[in-house]
């Protein structure tokens, strides 16, 4: 009897101290999935978390799956996963603000505004974030801007400092007039392009038109009519080209103003990660 107890003890101790690992145990799957998540290996993390959820229901895991999709920029799947969080979930408020971010990135404009306004009025801890995102997004639409004080209310001082110039520019964009450019170039060839800040091209246009006019004139004077007419035709061509080009240059200038504006706002939003919260899943 004593021998038997002794032997049983040996077996029990050996199984405690053995290094047998069951890779398919849910907690081991979760440990590995958390590791993958922190390594930014999101697709694999999603697969592992999925296996975990087949056995155990867990709000954090569901949220991390949705977050993984979002971090891989698969906003469609992210939206689906975040939306499955109901208000009993631990991450309900975080899911809501992440849904707003996904709606913005997917460009579902009307849903974005409706959902955003609901979130602002819901007194969630992320209402300010939602307000910031909604306000910033107005810059990229044709909508009118609200009063300055109302607009900048949710923002911090350094954000306000940055966005103020965009606010002013949206109200008064520094466009160049196409008509003005055309008229300037009609009077003095090249001046229209200098007006639209195309200095090199403006000077070149002036020189070419001037040179050809001079060549035409001297050839008429020296009685070389064929050459003179060729130079006249070329001169006329370059003159017409210069007027046309100045108008096009003004259009391109204005397109650049719009591009820089929109790009500035986009980079700002990217930098702020669309005002979504930061998480400390990976310390």
């Amino acid at each position: 009897m004593k021998t038997k107890i002794f032997l049983i003890l040996i077996v029990v101790c050996s199984s405690i101290y053995s290094q047998r690992i069951d890779f398919n145990l849910p907690q081991n799957i979760k440990l590995f999935a958390d590791f993958l998540f922190c390594e930014k290996d999101y697709l694999r993390a999603i697969e592992e978390y999925g296996k975990y959820l087949e056995v155990i229901d867990n709000d954090t895991v569901k949220f991390k799956i949705a977050l993984s999709y979002s971090l891989m920029n698969d906003q469609l799947n992210a939206l689906q996963e975040f939306s499955s969080a109901n208000n009993s979930s631990t991450f309900y408020e975080q899911s809501s603000i992440e849904i707003l971010k996904s709606l913005y990135l997917l460009k579902y404009d009307s849903t974005f505004y409706v959902f955003g306004n609901d979130l602002i009025n819901s007194k969630s801890q992320f209402s300010t974030n939602a307000q910031k995102l909604l306000n910033t997004s107005i810059f990229l639409t044709e909508k009118g801007l609200p009063d300055k004080n109302i607009f900048f209310k949710p923002f911090e001082s350094e954000e306000k400092l940055f966005l103020e110039k965009f606010y002013d520019q949206k109200l008064n964009p520094p466009y160049k007039s196409e008509t003005a450019a055309g008229i300037f170039s009609a009077i003095i060839p090249g001046s229209g392009k200098i007006y639209t800040e195309d200095y090199g091209d403006g000077i070149t246009a002036f020189i070419l038109s001037g040179l050809l006019t001079y060549l035409a004139y001297t050839n008429f004077e020296h009685n070389h009519p064929t050459r003179a007419w060729i130079f006249t035709a070329l001169g006329a061509g370059f003159y017409a080209g210069n007027v046309y080009g100045s108008i096009a240059s003004a259009q391109i200038f204005n397109a650049k103003v719009n591009f820089d504006f929109e790009n500035g706002i986009r980079l700002f939003l990217e930098d702020k990660d669309y005002f979504s919260p930061t998480y400390d899943f990976c310390k």
Binding site: L7, I10, V11, S14, S18, F32
Partner: protein
Amino acid sequence: MTSVNKTIVFFLLLAVMNLHPQTSLQQQFDSAIELYNQEKYFDAITEFKRLQFFDKENLYSFQLNLFIGKSYKAGSKFDEAIKYFTLAEMNAATEEDYFNSKILSARTNILRRTTKQSERILNELNDDSRFVSRITVIKYWQGWNYIFSDEWDKAYEIFSENILDTTLANLCKSVDEELYSVELAKYSSYLIPGSGQFYTGEYISGVLSFGWNILFGYLTISAFIEDRMFDGIIVGNFLWLRFYSGSIQNAEKFAVQKNLEISNKALKYLQFQFRGEKP
């Protein structure tokens, strides 16, 4: 007595089995290798990484890094492959392991066309006295490296000197002989515009080039002779110079294009029909 002995043996066996530390890790490794052999590389990497995470004592460190690297290489993800081969190299316990991971690193660099790096790795191995016996392997991949860096003459030297693979030696030799000399094409067009094009087999372009150069050369020189300096400068600069430099440009372009065709043909053969070991 006998039944007590049997019981003792039975329990002792159980204890030994329990204490065998690597059963589960080895099983995991084996199933991951199974996936690798089935060419399911993405999943194989997942299982290798799983084992890596739980292998706290780093018993499998070298093998895991090596196989993850090989899986990435099979999927043409060369940057990742090289990183894991380098990690394997650092975890190599034996010289054999170190050598194998270095060679795989070199081969991946060849495929990625970062031939300077593979050259450096292979030269390091060449200079390493530990691997004198493996010189054939090193030379073989040095040859392939020359093929991929478009140095067919050096590749031929390697393959022929070391009696490695006569098919490869013959192929490299024939490619090297077929290739046009880009310098020759360029410089003959410096001397006689259009001749570079003739050399590369583009006869029409050569004739046109030659013709334009003769015409504008004649017009420029006659303008200078008749003391019409301005005309001479205009014709010379805007017409003659243009066609003269165009001829040199085209000669170079045709030589480079034809050479590309020749080497691509050889590379295609190597990729799809050559039966020997490939990077």
